[in-house]
């Protein structure tokens, strides 16, 4: 299992050829109280950079982009009833969706956890 982060504050947990996507603790803190999340449907084909999910806090709406290409395996249905899961456990139970990993080479440009945590401190 490997954990990667993007500059848009998304995390990608890779297990075999499956990737789980969510937003980082830093991202949920910046957004504030999350009141709505919309995750992509199973089977949807995503290109890297596509708008994949929507997250809305009391303050504002934000898009979550597909950090890699692949096909959606499942969305996190628990978020529809309890979007505050993203605030409480952003890098665990508050995951957004799982997708296939079409091209492992796309992971090369991403940050590892240590690099991401260091970078966030500079923001």
């Amino acid at each position: 299992m490997s954990l990667y982060f993007t500059g848009e504050h998304e995390w990608i947990r890779v297990e075999g050829d499956t990737a789980t996507i969510g937003i980082s603790d830093h991202a949920q803190q910046a957004l504030g109280d999350i009141v709505f999340a919309e995750v992509p449907e199973q089977g949807r084909s995503l290109n890297k950079g596509d708008e994949a999910a929507v997250v809305e806090s009391v303050k504002a709406a934000s898009d979550v982009y597909a950090p890699i290409a692949g096909e959606v395996i499942m969305g996190n249905e628990a978020l529809a009833d309890d979007p505050s899961l993203i605030n409480r456990d952003p890098e665990g139970e508050g995951w957004f969706f799982k997708m296939t990993l079409a091209d492992a080479a796309e992971l090369d440009g991403l940050m590892d956890e240590a690099a991401y945590r260091e970078w966030v401190k500079t923001l």
Partner: protein, 373 residues
Amino acid sequence: MTETSSPTQSLPLDAWHRARGARMVPFAGYDMPVQYDGIMAEHLWTRSHAGLFDVSHMGQLLFHGLGLDRALETLLPGDLQSLKDGRLRYSMLLGEDGGIIDDLMATRRGEHFYLVVNGATKAGDIDQFERRLPREIAFDHMKEQALLALQGPEAAAVLDTLVPGVEELSFMQADLFRWNGLPLWISRSGYTGEDGYEISVASRDVAALADALVADERVKPIGLGARDSLRLEAGLPLYGHDLDHRTTPVMADLLFAIGKRRRADGGFAGAARIIGEIDNGPVQKRVGLLVDGKQPVREGALILDREGNEIGRITSGGHSPSLGRPIAMGYVATALADPGTFLKLEQRGKLFQAQVTPMPFVPHQYQRKKAGA
């Protein structure tokens, strides 16, 4: 995060907010606290206890001169002549076309009138008053005064322990009090729908007063974010969003602010148009909307009739922490403004169902007293 383009000014409590962990954002030309613990927690705290708001960015103007109430009545549609000493009234500064230049609170204070206007519009308001009032009328922009608001069901008990007697004030009544020998001009009013007070205090004393208030465990400092969600639930319009120079008091559903005598006699800016709208109905009207589902629908979303024709726009909208659902206000064609009317909203290409509903969304808790009227 985007950089601000113009330099912002600091409020007298700037350091106080930062020391309490506030996230500061530019608003109305000032660095202001948007949140401390989080908007949702601050909102619910204010509805159940007492919230302390720094609204020192607002403009405090003190007018005097011969024939003052009549002169102000040429620009404001409220009945100021009948306003008793120490009473305040919600009103609006109107353009000659009847459009709203700002909304405000006006208090008769002895020989004076004390007006509190919005921070983002105060410079323009001052210019309007200078140009449009007769020479006999003068006013002072009280730049050395800060303004705090203490709002919530425990506000009266908290403030009365520091400033005995404030509990006797009725909603929309004000008086001069003293705290540790310092003068405080206190009115029972606010912008949350809760019972509470607005306190005008010298800037040099405001940190000491804020400290004394938050020393009471029933009080927490509250940021602009919760101020916005609280006023939305209370159905109160925000200037620059729900009101602007293109809206009239009739369109904005603020007819309560135009007294009977003023409707009959006119004599205020835009009276012909406004009285015409009272008689014949405005083209559009501000309404409250309950939005289906969980997703907030925000300012700028389109309002559609059942056939999909655009009939207006959302001017404020978001998640209601008290109701746990999205609420909004906006302008719709008057024929579709009746409570119960089903409408559609369109935001980023997605459609939402909504229903016109009476405001406030959350009942007001104002404390009106019979004595002393």
